[in-house]
């Protein structure tokens, strides 16, 4: 009985992961296909790196990638600063006026359909421009503001979860010894939540780097991000240089995830060793 059940679970795991990874794998394989028809394998001329060469020579794609990178980096930094403040407010100041609304405002951007967020932000920018003349037109600035608004919510979740596990007696001890609140934060709290802030930064970067719907609403004619360019290209059908682009991005993300995973496992192992050592000492 037990064997049959674990067989079912393992089969579902294999099928589930095959479902998740086969399309990505196919995309990688087709990026080396010489044929312009993408999914028809041209065995005479493949594998080839031609699409990678074409990709790097395509100044439109390279410019869009640079713009996306810049927006994502600025967005991630801003979102993490605002997110840390908000997480601190929610976790450490339990009661303040308007807390319920604040809580709602910090979670709603995560679940709201992107078309609504995008539409509402565009209408705001248009109204602001009419009323005070800023922002004049739409472009990188409005995209960054829009991205910060929704990626901040994710940063808050990550940082708040870590803040909740920080031993408050350390902060209280520093405070009793006469350290000012901001000094306690910089010297005690910040180092303890640094890894969560780093994860939040990466998450905010990826959310911005990847966003298409909200960006389309708030971008202007002079600012085309990478997802916008990719979207307008693939709407017309499959395109071999996009496969090459996807392969490069998957590679970068995989390396990052493997590094993060190894660090995580090493930390787990160290923790386990420490716990065993502690048990040994008490015995």
């Amino acid at each position: 009985m037990h064997d049959r059940r674990s067989f079912f679970v393992i089969a579902m795991l294999v099928l589930g992961f095959a479902f998740l990874y086969l399309p990505i794998l196919a995309m990688i394989i087709y990026s080396f296909n010489a044929s312009r028809l993408v999914t028809v394998w041209d065995s005479a001329h493949s594998p080839t790196l031609a699409w990678y060469v074409e990709l790097f020579n395509n100044s439109q794609i390279m410019d869009a990638a640079k713009l996306s990178f810049r927006i994502a980096a600025v967005n991630a930094s801003g979102a993490v600063i605002l997110g840390t403040l908000a997480a601190f407010a929610l976790e450490r100041y339990r009661k303040f006026r308007g807390r319920a609304l604040f809580g709602l405002l910090t979670t709603a951007p995560m679940v709201l359909p992107e078309v609504i967020t995008g539409l509402s932000l565009l209408l705001l920018f248009v109204a602001l421009e009419q009323a005070v003349g800023w922002p004049s037109g739409r472009g990188a600035t409005t995209i960054t503001i829009a991205h910060m608004t929704f990626s901040m919510a994710y940063a808050i979740v990550v940082i708040q979860a870590r803040l909740a596990t920080v031993d408050r007696s350390l902060e209280e001890a520093a405070m009793d010894l006469g350290a000012r609140p901001w000094k306690v934060f910089l010297v005690i709290t910040l180092p303890l939540i640094a890894s969560a802030i780093a994860s939040a930064w990466v998450l905010a970067f990826i959310l911005s780097w990847d966003d298409i719907v909200i960006t389309s609403f708030v971008s202007g004619p002079g600012s085309t991000t990478l997802p916008q360019l990719v979207f307008s290209k693939v709407r017309l059908g499959v395109s071999p240089d996009i496969n090459a682009l996807a392969t490069i991005l998957v590679l970068i993300v995989s390396v990052a995830v493997v590094i993060a995973g190894t660090l995580m496992m090493r930390r787990d192992r160290r923790r386990m060793r420490d716990a065993q050592a502690a048990l040994g000492a008490t015995a």
């Binding site: 393992i10 992961f17 709201l112 499959v238 996807a246 787990d268």
Partner: protein, 311 residues
């Protein structure tokens, strides 16, 4: 103990409290102000424009509040956008279809995701970490490119059609792309990690001694699963379903790339009204209705969850 020293200390503490109060206010005010300006106010503007009328200008809407030449402050609220939205079969069909596609996709993701999350949570140490990262990895790879990957696979000359023809199941390539089938597939594929992650953390937290106790008392594993594991991981199920269902209802990219021209989904309709017809008021009215529908769903789910908690 009383004396200048304690008084001094008390004074110092009070100064610190006031200073802390200013700092504290700034910590709250900065993100609060940001969200108020860039998240709350935009909604009020959407609401305002939903009651406006389309006109040829930039922005293409009639002002709701006007100061007329004969010194009258005029407030004109047009309900025509809402009567238009509710009176048109097309919009109602788009809403119904979006809810159906999102609902079925959520259910399918749950059926696939639960055994996966269970398998990951029960896997031995190192394997568990590796499998967990394998679920996270697609989440970090571009959503757009993962949807795009299916365009190649499902195409007329794609590998799925080639395989079907090789096996003799079909003689001519099937139309797989630009169908509702492709939309469901893309939805389940894209949102599966969102379902697995909360389920995983719920199953991992489960107290295993309960299952051991049940087994000791002669309960069969299957019965123990339905009597213990499933009810105790209900929170993870709710969270996962919410994380899949809500964004799926308003999804734009998947129906735009994988669906056919007649795949009606509300996210796509809002997009087309806005960019295609430049009808900002109708797009705003649709957004408001969508928001109300989704909020209703969330509240309903929360109430069901609260009742389950009481029972």
């Amino acid at each position: 103990m009383s004396g200048p020293a304690t008084r001094g200390a008390r004074l110092a503490r009070r100064i610190a409290a006031i200073r802390g109060g200013v700092g504290r206010r700034a910590v709250i005010a900065l993100p609060y102000a940001w969200l108020a300006v860039f998240f709350l106010v935009p909604f009020l503007i959407v609401l305002k424009i939903a009651f406006s009328n389309i006109q040829l200008s930039m922005p293409p809407v009639e002002p709701v509040v006007t100061w007329t030449a004969d010194h009258v402050l005029q407030l004109r609220l047009h309900f025509s956008n809402f009567t238009f939205v509710f009176g048109d079969r097309l919009y109602l069909a788009a809403f119904a279809n979006s809810l159906q596609v999102a609902g079925v996709s959520t259910l399918l993701a749950l059926l696939i995701g639960y055994p996966m999350a269970y398998g990951i949570a029960r896997a031995p140490g190192t394997w568990r970490n590796i499998l967990f990262l394998l679920v996270v990895l697609p989440f970090f790879t571009s959503f757009l490119l993962r949807v795009y990957a299916w365009m190649g696979l499902l195409g007329r000359s794609g590998p799925i059609n080639a395989l079907l023809m090789q096996l003799g199941i079909t003689h001519a390539p099937l139309q797989l792309l630009q169908t509702d089938f492709a939309v469901y597939l893309g939805m389940v594929y894209s949102y599966l990690p969102f379902m697995v992650l909360p389920l995983y953390s719920a199953i991992e937290k489960l107290d295993l001694t309960l299952l051991e106790a049940a087994a000791d008392l002669g309960c069969r594993p299957t019965k123990a699963f339905f009597a213990i594991t499933l009810p105790l991981t209900k929170e993870g199920i709710f969270a996962g379903c919410l994380l899949v269902f809500i964004p799926a209802v308003g999804e734009y990219v998947i129906p735009a790339l994988l669906g056919g021209p007649d795949t009606l989904m509300i996210g796509r309709v809002v997009w087309d009204e806005f960019f295609g017809n430049r009808d900002w008021p109708v797009a705003s009215a649709l957004a408001i209705v969508l928001l109300v529908v989704l909020s209703g769903f969330v509240l309903l789910l929360q109430r069901v969850q609260a009742q389950e908690g009481d029972a």
